[in-house]
């Protein structure tokens, strides 16, 4: 398929995604609210920009990032590759033989989260609403670290085969405990940051990694164990964002005492 054909294809499907949203928004605007939108032209141009931007973004990912990322996920989970780095001569791999997989999971989780458009949007809004107290980069890095920990832990779980709900329940307990100690202001934002991490960039790469791994490790089923990585990626940012606020609060407190 040629470049322009592909671009037209993706643009069309993005428009298809936006149409229900546009119908709901403008429908309610005209039928229920019945007021003219201020700067209607600017808003419409903004919508067009969003569609073009998203289409270009997806096209670029499809052209550049996903093929090589998927290939990489396959190669890193390939038994021959793992054997070439492993010291043990036994046929069955120890979980530690998969160390490149964990490192890849960590770094790709963090780097794709930094580029996630919806996280950028939420960080911008949080920065604006908090009057600059919450830095755009602080939040994005905190979330990225959370996703990185989540995905590498998730890959480790696929290798070891421990049940997924142990991790999720343990994570929930951590979130509940932190909720009592974290600054009140951050709690809702932290909960939100779990949901925003996993959209356009992260999911396709992470899914490929999970499926590849579940196919390689003996005794795992791609259908059952391949799932679950996204859940890890949405739980751990909640913990790291609250931790980020807790550390920031602690530091201010200490500075005050020193002053």
């Amino acid at each position: 398929m040629g470049f322009w054909e592909q671009f037209a294809d993706i643009t069309l499907s993005t428009i298809k995604d936006v149409i229900p949203i546009a119908i709901i928004i403008f429908g309610f605007q005209f039928c229920v609210i019945r007021r003219r939108i201020t700067n209607l032209r600017k808003v419409l141009v903004g919508f067009v920009y969003v569609v073009i931007g998203l289409a270009l973004f997806l096209l670029g990912l499809e052209k550049a990032l996903f093929p090589i990322g998927r290939l990489m996920a396959e190669q890193l989970t390939d038994p021959d590759f793992i054997r070439s780095w492993s010291d043990s001569s036994v046929a069955v791999f120890h979980w530690s033989d998969y160390f490149w997989v964990y490192i890849f999971a960590f770094t790709i989780g963090a780097s794709t989260t930094i580029a996630e458009p919806s996280l950028i949007a939420v960080a911008m809004k949080a920065n604006e609403v908090s009057g600059g107290t919450i830095g755009v980069w602080g939040l994005r890095i905190a979330v990225a670290v959370g996703v990185a920990i989540g995905i590498s832990l998730g890959t480790w779980r696929i290798v070891t085969g421990y049940p997924i709900y142990w991790f999720i329940i343990a994570g929930y307990i951590a979130v509940v405990i932190q909720t009592f100690f974290a600054p009140k202001m951050i709690v809702p934002l932290a909960y939100d940051s779990g949901g925003v991490t996993t959209s356009t960039v992260t999911v396709p790469l992470v899914a490929a990694l999970g499926l590849g791994l579940a196919e390689t490790v003996p005794g795992r089923s791609a259908l059952i164990d391949g799932f679950g990585l996204i859940a890890f990626a949405s739980l751990f940012p909640i913990i790291t964002v609250m931790a980020y606020a807790q550390i920031a609060a602690l530091r201010t407190k200490r500075n005050k005492i020193v002053d």
């Binding site: 939108i37 600017k42 808003v43 141009v45 550049a64 929930y172 925003v196």
Partner: protein, 244 residues
């Protein structure tokens, strides 16, 4: 004009910086760990340029279109004081943005395969398709429900902690009763519902509502809609797995 070009090139630089980590990670693994050449360099370059331009446009459009419309609609609803229509809007937005979400369609189809492999439903194409679309509508409904609940919370000023904790407890309890095959999918379904266009819109709506209503703090009350939208599908999908 000159100022526009300047702003554009500055946000292009911002997008470049956002994408640099991915490039570094991929290059490191390809060249150092896997020790293979970069395939199809020319296409890679074009694709990379598209990603940078796309991200730049998206963020521009966000500030011009999505954020203002979300905020102004929230303000108008609050001024009008029509609770009914606000809740209908929240529900419609939740269902409408989720039901056609490509990631959800993909996950639902895979879930049907899992269910068939686990012997929960017939392996035939027909029953798998029915299962998948049932799941899709369940998730879409659950997101609509979540936004209604989240908007009510903002209006009433309920604190989010207790609601989320109750939600977590429901997830944990249901995990023990739901069929084993569905659990991974249920957990993942929370993550796939919130698309790139929905998130900014819903965030602007929540923050706008909390800023328009007296006595609400946009930081404490405005955020949290996304959290509901990613928690409630888990509960509904497990319930679906138990009932079907």
């Amino acid at each position: 004009m000159k100022a526009g070009v300047f702003a554009l090139s500055r946000s292009m630089l911002g997008s470049l910086r956002d994408l640099a980590p991915i490039v570094l990670v991929i290059a490191f693994f390809q060249l150092v760990v896997l020790q293979q050449p970069i395939p199809d360099f020319f296409n890679l370059l074009i694709g990379f340029f598209c990603v940078v331009a796309g991200l730049t446009f998206f963020i521009y459009g966000l500030e011009m279109g999505l954020f203002p419309i979300g905020g102004s609609m929230a303000y108008e609803f609050a001024r009008k004081g029509s609770l009914f229509w606000l809740l209908v809007f929240a529900f419609a937005l939740g269902v409408g943005t989720t039901v056609a979400e490509p990631a959800l369609i993909a996950v639902a189809a895979e879930a049907a395969q899992v269910a068939a492999a686990g012997g929960m439903i017939d392996a035939g194409v027909q029953s798998q398709m029915e299962y998948a679309s049932g799941l899709r509508y369940t998730v879409a409904f659950s997101v609509g429900f979540a936004l209604v609940l989240g908007v009510l919370r903002i209006l009433k000023g309920w604190s989010i902690q207790y609601m989320i904790v109750v939600g977590y407890m429901l997830v944990v309890v249901m995990t023990f009763f739901a069929p084993k095959e569905i659990i991974g999918i249920a957990y993942d379904s929370g993550g796939v519902t919130t698309s790139t266009i929905t998130v900014p819109l819903v965030t602007a709506l929540g923050v706008g509502l909390a800023s328009s209503i007296k006595g609400r703090n946009p930081m404490i009350d405005g955020f949290g809609l996304i959290a509901f939208a990613s928690l409630s599908p888990m509960i509904f999908v497990m319930a679906y797995g138990m009932l079907v």
